[in-house]
């Protein structure tokens, strides 16, 4: 390492000098060049580091993507021309990582059965099945063992209940050992020709030791010895046996055979499945389930309709209130505007999930502030009745969302030239006409895109629903875990992460549907707002 460091450092200096010479020959702006080299060097160092990490994990696909991207980036920034590419590249790369990757991965998952019981590869499922099918032979003794290495094979040196020592390995069943040294407690600890592994040796060979199965005798019905701590071994019999050649799992007691029938789990002729299974490609079955399954279609449509209602009403109500307040505050005759304005922005300054929790307390039927104090002790089931819960969600979202609309409307109003409304006033227009015909259209040009993004945000407003009602009140009559205030994204969350029947594949299919709905609505919205722009 030391040698390594010193010799290239001289080489490095030479290289640097060379680089400097090249740079100064071609351009006078060495500083810019240096900054560029340093920045690119950092990028290259980072990708080289990740390349090594990926190579170590054997993740060749991502490795090649990283290397290719790095080469392209270097090529783009060392080129003289291609200014546009230089501006766009960082943004494009982040777009690739944060948007396209997530979308592609969700799409991929949507076509699999990834979920409870199907969450890894077949190989891992087999090893898990074998691992959990080991049954301790009832009434069998626990054996003190030492692990000894004879030649190249590991052996269990077992002290039998009567004190004699036996030895065995994975290949050779337990048999008497010619001579063994015993410790004070009478446990056989070593035998000639073999070296005993210390605890530290065991730790460095844990996998090897814990996966050892030493047959008790030549008869496999007697079971095998297995150790979990390297000091005691117990007798086990395996309930399942995997036949790799025929790709079948066999129950050693009932002789039932389980086949890989293409459903992602070993399945018997009678249809019973072993779990865990593994992840398989299921084609469009998740999407088909969303639209055709009787029990899913109903709740899905109900949730879809409410999600659209929720986002449209939220955008409309927050915009109207925000704009109204902005108009009032835009009037220069009003006193103390700065104070009011900062108070109005407060809801925007609190984290939304915290506000939602506070509102949950305020809306409590028997003990909440709203029913108890503001409404003098009435029992309004704000969060218990399906219809009221929807209204409560909309009210809370109005409270959370209007400051944003207030801020953007305020900015937009101030950017409208004063002389326009003054001119209109001279022409005899009244205040309402000025607002409707001049201010509002001009306002919409700059605000329409924000309304669209606000729609998209509310469409996926998970925080509010999860914290305020958790989708409730639950409809006791459906078979799905869906409540009357659940929006699509909170329903997706429940499908993927709640209960014991988690289905990431189905949840991803739902996410894709959400993506399509939001994308279509946004596209239409942006087109409409562009035509607005052309009007003006």
């Amino acid at each position: 390492m030391i040698q390594h460091d010193s010799s290239p450092s001289r080489k490095d200096i030479r290289k640097k000098k060379q680089a400097n010479r090249v740079a100064s020959q071609a351009s006078t702006r060495i500083g810019t060049m240096l900054i560029k080299i340093v920045l690119l060097g950092l990028v290259d160092a980072l990708s080289a580091y990740s390349a090594f990490m990926l190579a170590e994990q054997g993740n060749w696909i991502i490795l090649s993507i990283v290397v290719a991207t790095t080469i392209v980036v270097n090529w783009i920034y060392f080129r003289r021309d291609g200014l546009v590419a230089k501006y766009l590249t960082p943004g494009l790369i982040f777009l690739l990582i944060f948007q396209l990757f997530a979308i592609c991965y969700s799409t991929y998952i949507a076509f699999t059965d990834y979920g409870t019981g199907h969450n890894s590869t077949k190989e891992q499922a087999i090893s898990s099945l074998i691992q959990s099918s080991q049954r301790r032979v009832q009434g069998s003794a626990s054996y003190k063992i030492s692990i000894v290495e004879c030649g190249k094979t590991l052996n269990f040196l077992v002290t039998m209940p009567h004190g004699e020592a036996q030895i065995g390995s994975e290949k050779t069943p337990l048999h008497e050992v010619a001579s063994a040294t015993k410790d004070d407690a009478g446990q056989a600890v070593s035998t000639p020709g073999c070296s005993t592994l210390s605890f530290n040796d065991l730790l460095s060979r844990q996998d090897e030791v814990t996966s050892m199965r030493v047959p008790m005798s030549a008869d496999s019905q007697d079971g095998t010895l297995k150790t979990a701590d390297g000091q005691t071994a117990l007798v086990y019999k395996s309930l399942l046996k995997y036949d790799a050649a025929k790709d079948i799992m066999i129950n050693t007691q009932t002789r039932v055979r389980y086949y890989d029938t293409g459903v992602g789990a070993f399945t018997s002729k009678g249809g019973s499945r072993l779990s865990p299974g593994w992840q398989i490609n299921v084609g469009i079955s998740n999407f088909r389930q969303v639209f055709t399954s009787q029990e899913m279609r109903g709740p899905f449509l109900q949730v879809l309709v409410w999600t659209i209602e929720f986002s449209v009403i939220s955008v409309a109500s927050t915009f109207v209130l925000g704009l109204l307040l902005a108009l009032v505050f835009n009037n220069s005759r009003m006193k103390g505007r700065a104070v009011y304005r900062s108070i109005l922005i407060l809801p925007y300054a609190f984290p939304a999930f915290l506000s939602a929790l506070v509102w949950q307390g305020l809306l409590n039927e028997k003990f909440g502030y709203i029913n108890q104090v503001l409404l003098h002790g009435v029992d309004i089931p704000w969060l218990e009745s399906p219809a009221l819960a929807k209204i409560a969600v909309l009210i809370v979202n109005l409270w959370l969302g209007f400051p944003y609309m207030f801020l953007v409307s305020m900015g937009a109003l101030q950017s409208i030239p004063k002389d326009l409304s003054e001119a209109a006033e001279l022409d005899g227009a009244n205040a309402w006409q000025i607002f409707r015909l001049i201010k509002f259209p001009l306002l919409l040009v700059s605000i329409a895109p924000l309304l669209i993004s606000s729609f998209a945000m509310n469409f996926n407003n998970f925080n509010l629903i999860y914290m305020l009602t958790n989708g409730g009140p639950i409809n006791a009559n459906t078979n799905m875990n869906v409540g009357s205030t659940d929006i699509l994204i909170s329903m997706v969350y429940k499908i993927a992460f709640v209960g014991a029947d988690r289905n990431y594949g189905l949840a991803s299919a739902f996410s894709i549907i959400i993506f399509i709905v939001v994308a279509v609505v946004s596209a239409i919205g942006f087109r409409a707002s562009r035509s607005l722009e052309e009007l003006n």
């Binding site: 039927e365 909440g368 639950i474």
Partner: protein
């Protein structure tokens, strides 16, 4: 121009390769370092634990490292995220070697193949039977238990000097003490059939039938029987009388009890220190029967799981069985979490000097282990929803209860 750009590429390439060389150097020394340390006997096990237990585990880990040379990487995680993170990370070869969690995760984690059985051998008998049963899934023990908890009736001894002889006796005492509520039983907007389960069982209503070895039989769903309907009717009557309400969240119930608004609350050992801090003198009693039979609370057990993909199984098993399973550590975990130990010896020592623990022990004596089968999650979902709608008087109690039983049945049929 072209000449420059070519040369600059050469220069950059030279620099990049120099950096690569340097990194390779670092990388390889790093690797050889770990190799060296492994052969010197210091591999690392990763342990996931929640905030309540990391402090205690830190000192356990330090002792373990000192004795065995195995390093312990303690990762503090939110209890709510441990289960899901195990399911997603362990198959990818990441995640912990050992993770803390309640026994009701066992079924799901085993179904996903992310945990492996822990062989306790003859040490099994050192633990309370219910603690071992709770981690028994398909005949394997999947967790090393450290604490056992159940709900009981907590009594404010100033308002009610004697334990109630029956459920209705609580109302009599409360009237005499002039408190607002005869008893406090949390429900919340999402329902809480866990806390209400002892009342349900006192009507003879159980969720599943049990096999002869004490494990639950998902095929024997008994929740919809006549006893269940009797319980449903009782719930509706109590709700109409104002004793049960979905507004009564866990926090509100606790604060009402602390304010002395009721002589009784049904809750678990996790709330005891808060109640005592509020200056309330308490006694812990078994829950009186509302339906004529013994009230059997769920006994939940907390423990540590072993990852199916652990590369340090030997060290991890050693850490669990000899350290977490020791009397000293179990008692230390009790002190930090407030929930009594699973190891019988430690438990007896804790109960000896503590009447509260004795009270919980008595209340849990005829308790039933918290089911760990995956089907239980459908039960929670529908049972909670049904109790909420009965309490909110959204229909006839029998109809709602029967709907719930049907929903559970069809949801379980779908799963298997």
């Amino acid at each position: 121009m072209a000449v420059f750009s070519k040369r600059s590429i050469v220069a950059a390439a030279a620099m990049t390769s120099a950096m690569l060389v340097a990194l390779t150097g670092c990388g390889s020394t790093g690797a050889s370092n770990t190799n060296a340390s492994v052969s010197a006997g210091s591999s690392t096990i990763t342990v996931w634990a929640d905030a309540d237990h990391t402090a205690t585990l830190k000192s356990v880990a330090a002792e373990f490292t000192k004795k065995t040379g195995v390093k312990v990487k303690l990762v503090q995680k939110d209890m709510g995220s441990i289960e899901q993170d195990m399911i997603t990370q362990i198959p990818a070869g990441k995640g912990p070697d050992v993770a803390i969690g309640p026994n009701d995760w066992t079924g799901l984690l085993a179904t996903d193949g992310v945990i492996q059985p822990i062989e306790l051998g003859n040490m099994k008998s050192a633990y309370q039977k219910v603690a071992i049963d709770a981690f028994n899934y398909n005949g394997n023990i999947y967790g090393l238990p450290y604490s056992v908890e159940n709900v009981a009736l907590i009594r404010n001894t100033q308002l009610a000097p004697n334990a109630p002889s029956s459920w209705d006796d609580m109302a009599t005492t409360a009237t005499a003490a002039k408190t607002k509520y005869p008893y406090l039983l949390q429900v919340g907007s999402q329902g809480d059939s866990y806390t209400m389960y002892p009342v349900q069982t006192s009507f003879g209503s159980f969720v599943f039938g049990q096999n002869s070895d004490g494990s639950y039989n998902a095929k024997k769903l008994t929740v919809g029987d006549a006893n269940g309907l009797a319980f449903a009717k009782w719930v509706q009557t109590q709700a109409k009388a104002g004793n049960l309400s979905t507004s009564m969240t866990a926090d509100i119930a606790l604060s009402k009890f602390e304010q002395g608004q009721s002589p009784y609350i049904i809750t678990g050992p996790w709330n005891i220190s808060a109640i005592q801090k509020a200056g309330i003198k308490i006694a812990v009693d078994p829950i009186p029967s509302a339906g004529g039979q013994a009230a059997k609370p769920f006994v939940g057990v907390n423990g540590f799981f072993l990852s199916a993909k652990s590369k340090n199984k030997l060290a991890a098993t050693n850490f669990l069985t000899t350290y977490i399973g020791s009397e000293k550590v179990q008692q230390a975990l009790f002190k930090s979490g407030g929930v009594p130990s699973a190891l019988t010896k430690a438990y007896n020592a804790e109960a000896q000097s503590d009447s509260v623990i004795q009270g919980f022990k008595k209340a849990g004596e005829n308790g039933v282990p918290m089911p760990n089968i995956t089907q239980m999650s459908s039960v929670w979902q529908y049972l909670n929803a049904a109790e909420v709608s009965i309490i909110n008087n959204q229909g006839d109690s029998s109809t709602l209860w029967n709907n719930m039983a049907d929903s559970i049945k069809s949801s379980i049929a779908k799963q298997s």
